[in-house]
Symmetry: D2
Subunit: 139 residues, 4 copies
């Protein structure tokens, strides 16, 4: 029996987490063959760096990166995949835009998985990148 999740199951799994639910993440697309998932995150006032600036705080961007990297694996194994560590690089300010994170599995080994995450703005411009290491669940 396959443990792969479809787009509705991934969305339902995201929505079950209070933290992710607060982030209002929406699944844009999943591709099990490419081991890739895209998530969208709308601005909300609590995520602004400075009041009324429309600028995303870096912590919200890092949170998106962590979740997107995680779910590129979760959607495959059907369960929780703890983050070991991850790196966030900020390339450009993100202002007055939704965020889209596209996470791609670079390696899913027996002991360790590595995922790359690109974050783009509404114009598709690359604004932040992440790289995370996760512990794959042994079924």
């Amino acid at each position: 029996m396959s443990t792969e999740m479809n787009i509705e199951e991934v969305q339902a799994s995201l929505d079950r987490s209070p933290f992710i639910s607060f982030m209002q993440l929406q699944v844009v697309s999943i591709d099990q063959d490419k081991q890739q998932i895209a998530l969208k995150m709308p601005m909300r006032p609590e995520f602004e760096r400075g009041a009324g600036t429309g600028q995303w705080h870096g912590g919200a961007i890092a949170s998106l990166i962590d979740v997107a990297g995680d779910y590129a694996l979760v959607m495959k194994v059907g369960g929780g995949v703890p983050t070991v560590n991850f790196r966030t690089d900020y390339l450009r300010p993100l202002m007055n835009t939704d965020l889209t994170a596209t996470a791609t599995v670079r390696r899913a080994g027996r002991t360790i998985a590595v995922v790359d995450i690109d974050v783009t703005n509404d114009e598709g411009k690359l604004c932040a990148v992440g790289r995370g290491t996760y512990l794959p669940v042994v079924g």
Copy 2:
């Protein structure tokens, strides 16, 4: 004229940011000589990984690391210090506890600053570590 901030000024600066304000960060201590700041973050329902578990989501921990690292520099220069990149390592699950992040400047150069951040639980046990690179503001 010194640009160093005292504890009330640091707290006021934190509170002005909607994102940080939502995180309810409290300054525990600052030490300008040691270039060290400690911030406390209480649990709130929106930060739980799973509903009712009392477990912190990793994204909230990463956000705390970013802010603490940043403010170890902000309290010195008196203004914004953009994050270049940072790394978060999760060492133990954080459950049913406040978080305390202690950030220590390892190097504040002319072009780049590096800060280490330790995150402990209520018992003082080390549960996560961060390391961030920041662009110091040229006065």
Copy 3:
């Protein structure tokens, strides 16, 4: 006057460094439009983890990643570009093979540049990845 280097100039620049010269790096290709460079590194006995195993030590792989990331920028600006920090992830053991590192600039800003580096074996299999931050030279 352009500061862009051609393939012979990049090779000559690599060869001038004792460390890189010892690594015996060869430029495979450069693409200024894609901001991409590929470097090849042959095994030598000093780079083995265990004697006679044919397995690369991780330190040699990390060194290759640092140099490849650096030269994706050097070939553009025509001079030294200091590394701020970099991360190395090992995905598979590298044994009895040359290494090829392909470095691609993800962002070359005014203050900070970020480069991704993929390391493959003779069969083109991805075995390690790097991500580095560099300080672009101001001309």
Copy 4:
């Protein structure tokens, strides 16, 4: 039976690796209780960035960081401990000096270990820092 190594056993283990042997690493001290090891690395012409400059190439520094972090664990478990990933931050140029790397285990869990590595020059000044994740050997 303990698997802990004494200083002579650690030195002998280092010397058996062609790569580490080429680096001429010497154990300065080990402390099993503190989970800390210090290694010294002398300059050799092959490690210079530019010929005759006396400046260390960053790749050699990163290699030292990887090995020191690894051996903070190896000395405990008595066998190989693969590196998952590591980060290197350069804080100051290292010129005309030996390097000393002091590696301290921050967490040695069942599945993942995290080690911090500080690199100082002959005057004890902090010049680079590393943080590595390793897979502890299950005995």
